[in-house]
């Protein structure tokens, strides 16, 4: 127990009771909490569904083909995320960076699409204040978009870290955890897309 002479590595620094790392467990617990966050937002959307007193109404304004494409873009980004993780897990940092870059780019494309969609709706007279649809739609999809945006910043940080040599294949789990978040945000979009766009009003 004297200075420096003790065993080299602290075993408890690497060992956890469950064998799952602290960081990964933190992410799972956070996602459970985030489920309740989106659950509450979606619940309020569903309660107010079809209860706007004046237009524009969703059926007049939602462009399902357009949003289907942007949904597909977001889903593709999940595939790119899987490939990026596969890259770093197998020590192929080039493949990791390319696919993680693709993930972030697809995410950005989705956000750009959302920006365009929001502007389009706004020109059709739909705003936060206009009616219950505007209120609930913009807040729900806006919070989802914020999640995507935070995810993009996270992915770009990981790419930059790997470029500056601060992320190696030994840190593959950090990418895996970012991936958990990214896939979760995708799954939430599937739910929102189904409930907000696909089910007829």
């Amino acid at each position: 127990m004297s200075d420096g002479t003790a065993v080299g590595h602290a075993p408890e620094a690497h060992h956890t009771t469950t064998g799952i790392s602290h960081n990964k467990m933190l992410m799972w617990a956070f996602l459970a909490s985030d489920c309740m966050f989106f659950g509450s937002l979606i619940w309020v959307y569903m309660v107010y569904r079809g209860r706007s007193l004046e237009g524009p109404y969703p059926q007049e304004i939602l462009n399902i083909p357009y949003t289907s494409v942007s949904a597909a873009v977001l889903l593709l980004s999940s595939l790119a995320m899987v490939l990026a993780l596969h890259g770093i897990q197998h020590g192929n940092m080039r493949r990791f960076r390319v696919w993680l870059g693709a993930t972030a780019a697809l995410g950005a494309l989705f956000l750009g699409g959302q920006y365009f969609e929001f502007t389009e709706f706004y020109h059709h007279g739909l705003s936060l204040e206009q009616n219950l649809f505007g209120t609930t739609f913009f807040v729900l999809t806006g919070f989802h978009g914020t999640h995507v945006g935070i995810g993009i910043i996270w992915l770009v940080t990981l790419i930059l870290m790997s470029l500056f040599g601060r992320l190696s294949p030994a840190d593959a789990e950090r990418v895996e955890i970012a991936g958990l978040y990214w896939h979760f945000v995708d799954i939430v979009w599937i739910v929102i897309f189904t409930l907000v766009y696909l089910i007829p009003y």
């Binding site: 127990m1 408890e12 060992h15 469950t18 602290h22 309740m36 219950l132 209120t135």
Partner: protein, 646 residues
């Protein structure tokens, strides 16, 4: 020359002591910060309670006007729930949980520091409303659309409330994530789930409740914020919005919140009663599972706060049933505590007196709770003083009495000094008498129809006597609380001579010195059963599991583990683990700056709602965001394994 150099040296040293507290990531120091901060807020919340009781001491009193009265009762409730009971629980989570599970810190020490600073700054944001004469005045429940429309709440009052609570919500979520991971992932070898102290169990259950219940409050607050700031229609009936939605969101959070306030205190007395009965907790498994059942059911009872809203007979009947069901696991716990005391070698210490009075007082509050679980009875009692009596019996008679017990029990561990027992017993009796004088008469006032939240009453209602009694009780209660502070402050001036294990305790925190060293355990303890330290001291009378294998290369290096289980933990080491190089995370400024940035965002929103400075609002929000982003980047790239101690 030499002297001035010495002075300079001293100044440097003193400043670094301050810096040490500002940058600490040690769970024990953070626990102590939570402890004193929330006790200071207890004085503020208590003072507000005395203002309420002074206003009501005689009929038609003019001590406080109706506006001031609204602010006072709103802030009293908000402070006591979010700034006193929750953070006092957090003080004990922080100080005790790592010690009880044999860990050196929490899973995320810097996140832990962030939780504290966000709690402190969020609280100060909320309290700063007093300086602007705009304290929140919409009740702690903030019912929409009174709170969501600037038409009905034009001042900054509700803005302070919405922003302060959002900052506090982030602090709470971060803390819950941290303790969830810590308890699941950082237990000492052999500390299986069913060997954990009940306090650790209740912390775990509380963390899960926070993770699942707080988002609903966050979403509700975000909607109120959007309605107030951006003209949305969430709770605007003119556009088809429904204010009752807020009530659902609030109470889906609000009822689990009640158990967030009471489960940790239940855990505390489940540690204290066995120690002073010199018996293991009766029915450990039942107590643990009852806690989980309570937590599960708590998500299915929220609408009992809304019986009078008019949800219809079917929802009301369903929620009445689920609410009554909660009495079953709660009753199980009460009988287990009684079973623990039964036949025990009871030591009448102050901590035990508070813990035992918890059982009695909480039972009274529990029974009145079952009464208004019945819908017709609730129609009669709702919004009356009967409800005020009920929840003070569970939150003061329950939570706070148990926390008082915890203060007397763990103060020696936290500060190395024993609180004075004679002063403690005086404090206890005055508290018990003052509490019952204050709140028992409110049952009578309530069934007689005296409404809550109304600043005065007419002289011909016949409510004078019991209001007078309640007010006298409240002054007594205030005086008794001062005795606690006198006791603590005089004790802190005495030499730190508390033994490591003053009460003959059962759990691991008593195995190490009082106060514990920075690294907690010289060697990571090995746990061989429930009441781990008791087994080390006295051997096991009942069935104790085999000593666990140490993981990895260390197994086999530990001859003590194969022993019969009779060795006494010697000196400062608990159990017998291996010595290893101990890494302690270095201090960090980033938790504090992140929390400050977050609070700046909230403050900017309040500024935006002012008339004269509105244009400054969003720039301040932007500054806050920038501060959070820069701090988080610094946080991410800060090395965390530099310092090492032995």
């Amino acid at each position: 020359m030499v002297e001035s150099a010495l002075k300079l040296e001293r100044a440097r040293y003193e400043r670094s002591a301050l810096v040490e507290w500002l940058t600490t990531v040690d769970h024990k120091k953070i626990g102590i910060l939570y402890f004193w901060t929330s006790l200071a807020f207890l004085l503020i919340g208590g003072l507000l309670a005395l203002l309420i009781r002074t206003q009501l001491i005689v009929p038609e009193n003019t001590f406080l006007g109706p506006e001031a009265y609204n602010e006072v009762f709103t802030m009293h409730g908000t402070i006591m729930i979010f700034l006193v009971v929750m953070p006092l629980n957090a003080a004990f989570f922080n100080f005790l949980v790592p010690l009880m599970i044999g860990a050196r810190d929490v899973a995320f020490p810097r996140l832990n520091a962030f939780s504290y600073w966000a709690f402190l700054f969020g609280s100060l944001l909320l309290l700063s409303s007093f300086l602007f004469g705009a304290a929140p005045d919409g009740g702690w429940f903030g019912y929409a659309n009174l709170t969501s429309s600037r038409l009905y709440s034009p001042g900054l009052n509700i803005d302070f409330w919405v922003m302060g609570l959002q900052v506090l919500g982030v602090a709470t979520l971060a803390s819950a994530l941290n303790f969830f991971v810590t308890i699941v992932n950082m237990r000492a070898p052999g500390m299986s789930l069913m060997r954990m102290p009940v306090f650790v169990w209740m912390t775990l259950v509380t963390a899960v409740l926070i993770l699942l219940a707080f988002p609903s409050l966050t979403v509700g607050l975000v909607m109120i914020m959007f309605d107030r700031y951006f003209g949305t229609n969430f709770f605007n009936p003119a556009a088809g919005g429904d204010p009752v939605i807020w009530q659902h969101l609030f109470w889906i959070f609000g009822h689990p919140e009640v158990y967030i306030l009471i489960l940790p205190p239940m855990g505390m007395i489940s540690e204290i009663l066995p120690t002073f009965s010199r018996k293991p907790l009766f029915g450990y498994t039942f107590v643990v599972f009852a806690g989980m059942v309570i937590a599960f059911l708590s998500f299915g009872v929220w609408a009992h706060h809304m019986f009078a809203v008019g949800l219809g007979p079917v929802p009301n009947a369903v929620f009445a049933t689920t609410t009554m069901l909660i009495a079953i696991p709660t009753g199980v716990k009460i009988f287990n505590w009684l079973g623990t005391l039964w036949g025990g070698a009871i030591e009448m210490k102050t901590a035990l007196l508070f813990a035992a009075s918890f059982i009695a007082m909480f039972t009274i509050g529990g029974i009145s709770g079952v009464m208004h679980a019945s819908v017709p009875v609730d129609y009669w009692q709702t919004d009356s003083y009967f409800v005020v009596a009920h929840f003070h019996y569970v939150l003061f008679g329950g939570s706070l009495l148990a926390i008082m017990a915890a203060i007397y029990y763990w103060f020696p561990k936290m500060f190395g000094r024993m609180l004075d027992e004679r002063l403690g017993k005086l404090h206890f009796w005055l508290t018990l008498i003052g509490f019952n004088l204050t709140f028992f008469p409110m049952h009578f006032l309530g069934v007689d129809g005296m409404p809550r939240r109304v600043f005065t009453y007419s002289a011909d209602m016949g409510w004078d006597l019991w209001n007078l009694v309640a007010s006298i009780g409240a002054y007594l209660l205030g005086a008794s609380t001062l005795l606690l502070f006198v006791n603590m402050l005089t004790t802190l001036r005495k030499p730190a001579d508390a033994p490591a294990d003053p009460w003959d305790g059962r759990t691991l925190e008593w195995a190490i010195p009082s106060p514990p060293p920075a690294h907690n355990f010289d060697v990571v303890p090995v746990v061989r059963g429930r009441d781990a330290f008791w087994i080390e001291k006295y051997g096991a009378e009942e069935v104790v599991g085999p000593a666990p294998e140490r993981h990895g290369a260390e197994s086999g290096h530990n001859p003590h583990n194969s022993g019969s289980g009779n060795e006494v933990g010697h000196g400062s080491s608990a159990g017998h683990g291996q010595a290893a190089h101990i890494h302690l995370p270095p201090p960090s400024w980033f938790p504090l700056t992140t929390a400050a940035g977050l609070t700046l965002m909230g403050a900017g929103m309040v500024v935006h709602a002012t008339e004269s400075l509105a244009s400054l609002g969003f720039p301040i929000v932007g500054l806050g965001i920038a501060m959070v982003v820069v701090s988080l980047l610094g946080w991410t790239f800060e090395p965390i394994h530099e310092e090492s101690h032995a």
